[in-house]
């Protein structure tokens, strides 16, 4: 698992991903790769949902109420999603 996820870049959910909220978080299915990811709480879902609207992933975390002490855990989560192409860097702003 990559630990060098860049929180200070703009990110977005890949357009081929279908997001399905669940009581405990959300399911993400990528129609291109046929991979499935499970977000295990509402806050990480809120982060992922706001990625496309925020200038950086860090801003998306802050907007979702992620506390500074929790940022590493959320960065790790985002890097897992990036590795499986669920989220991709946005080009430009």
């Amino acid at each position: 698992m990559s630990t060098d996820f860049d929180l200070d870049r703009p990110w977005q959910v890949d357009p081929r991903v279908s997001m399905r909220p669940e009581p405990f978080g959300a399911l993400l299915y990528h129609f291109g790769t046929r991979r499935l990811s499970f977000l295990k709480n509402q806050r990480v879902l809120a982060v992922v949902r706001s990625l496309g609207d925020c200038p950086t992933a860090r801003a998306a975390c802050e907007a979702a109420g992620v506390r500074p002490a929790e940022l590493p855990a959320y960065a790790r989560a985002l890097s897992v999603l990036a590795e499986s192409n669920m989220i991709t860097e946005r080009s430009g702003l």
């Binding site: 279908s18 399905r20 669940e22 009581p23 405990f24 399911l27 299915y29 129609f31 291109g32 046929r34 991979r35 499935l36 499970f38 295990k40 709480n41 499986s84």
Partner: protein, 407 residues
């Protein structure tokens, strides 16, 4: 990908994935949809006892209504099977309708209609995956189970897929006593055609109940199978069907749990909704898509599914140290061998299943639906497996799916 399990739960920690899935989701993640009971083959272990079309099959419009529901529920994926789904005249229309409505499709086929044109069409689509069924790496082993010509049909279909540039289609094998020695050969075949190998567990379901005694793996072969899977990691898919082998070592990739009625289910050709395709029996019938409220209501409100989503206490397996990884094995395997559902799997690697089977007396449950071709009737005892079985004759009045069809 491998699901990692937390060693312990601290208060406020994110919940274990399997615990969440066991409680059931608001919609399946994916499901099996048997489009027709019609089939050109008569495989001796067919889980759905297919062969003859059922006159009550869902119409094209009814199928489209199901797809609309799946889209609304955001079911990501349907595994279309049967019988042989491609013998339905509206097969391509339904596949196109599904993908146009954001429901991914993988269909399972013996290859009979997968010609060059079909392969080209599939290679051009991003949202349709194909799974070719083959149960022997040689004609001899395969055709003993799937009938004469089946091996050649599958090979021909895979050749078309490779020629069309369709990489990564699935070669799906049901593991039996006779083909476990061919695991490396299956991998070679998959590699040769640019396919991904998928091996799954034989269950005593449908006609599989009649041939279970001759076909199910021997205990030593289960160990061989497990070791082979560990050696091949995630190169080889399993449909999470071997979690009953987990006690041999670390868990295999996958959820390692029964998804029936929780994250997956079956829709059969007449619209009946079962917990899973290996459990076609009234005991596991949740409802019908033609009922008021359709599939969505069945999934959410069925008392059967509600009971499957209750926490699993383990029953007689609770005292076993391996229960956490093997989960008591396969519900369908237990049911159709006459074992109680709250006890060991018939193929329990600790041997608890064999002990339990010794106590089973009298008749065991049989599948509720039998659409076998009339010339190969189900018997109450084991059916001897021979090479060169006679194919059923094709006449219009036979309701044969291939009346008039030339291969």
């Amino acid at each position: 990908m491998t699901v990692t399990h937390e060693a312990h739960q601290s208060p406020g920690a994110a919940p274990k994935l399997t615990d969440l899935f066991q409680r059931g989701l608001d919609a399946p993640i994916c499901l099996t949809w048997e489009l027709t009971y019609a089939c050109n083959l008569s495989c001796v272990h067919c889980l759905s006892s297919s062969g003859r079309r059922d006159p009550r099959e869902l119409t094209t419009d009814e199928c489209k209504a199901v797809i609309d529901t799946l889209q609304r529920m955001q079911v990501f994926y349907v595994n279309i099977g049967g019988g042989e789904p491609t013998v339905r005249p509206d097969f391509w229309e339904l596949v196109d309708y599904a993908t146009a409505h954001h429901v991914g499709v993988k269909f399972s086929t013996n290859g009979v209609k997968l010609d060059a044109a079909a392969a080209a069409r599939l290679a051009a689509s991003d949202y349709v995956d194909v799974q070719i069924s083959l149960d022997g790496a040689t004609r001899e082993v395969n055709d003993a189970v799937r009938g004469p010509g089946a091996y050649d049909t599958a090979m021909r279909a895979m050749g078309h897929l490779r020629a069309a540039g369709f990489e990564g289609f699935k070669l799906s094998v049901v593991m039996t006593r006779h083909n476990i020695p061919q695991l490396d050969a299956f991998k070679e075949i998959a590699d040769r055609f640019g396919a991904q190998l998928r091996i799954t567990r034989l269950r005593p379901s449908g006609r599989g109940a009649d041939t279970w005694d001759e076909l199910h793996p021997l205990p030593s072969q289960q160990r061989e199978l497990y070791d082979w899977l560990v050696a091949h990691g995630e190169d080889v898919l399993t449909g999470d069907s071997f979690f009953h082998l987990s006690p041999y070592g670390s868990a295999l990739p996958g959820l390692n749990m029964c998804g029936a009625g929780r994250v997956v289910c079956l829709i059969d050709p007449v619209g009946d909704v079962y917990a899973c395709p290996f459990a076609i029996h009234s005991e596991f019938l949740a409802g019908n898509v033609r009922d008021r409220g359709g599939f969505e209501t069945v999934w959410r409100c069925s008392p059967l599914f509600a009971s499957l989503r209750e926490p699993d206490t383990g029953g007689a397996c609770r005292s076993c140290g391996f229960y956490d990884s093997c989960r008591g094995g396969c519900m369908a395997a237990k049911f159709f061998t006459g074992l109680p559902l709250d006890g060991p799997d018939p193929e329990c690697v600790q041997g608890h299943g064999s002990a339990a089977l010794a106590s089973v007396s009298g008749a065991v449950p049989k599948s509720s639906e039998d659409h076998s071709h009339r010339t190969s009737p189900r018997s109450s005892g084991p059916v001897p497996v021979t090479i060169g079985r006679r194919r059923p004759p094709v006449h219009d009045c036979d309701e044969s799916p291939l009346a008039g069809f030339t291969a």
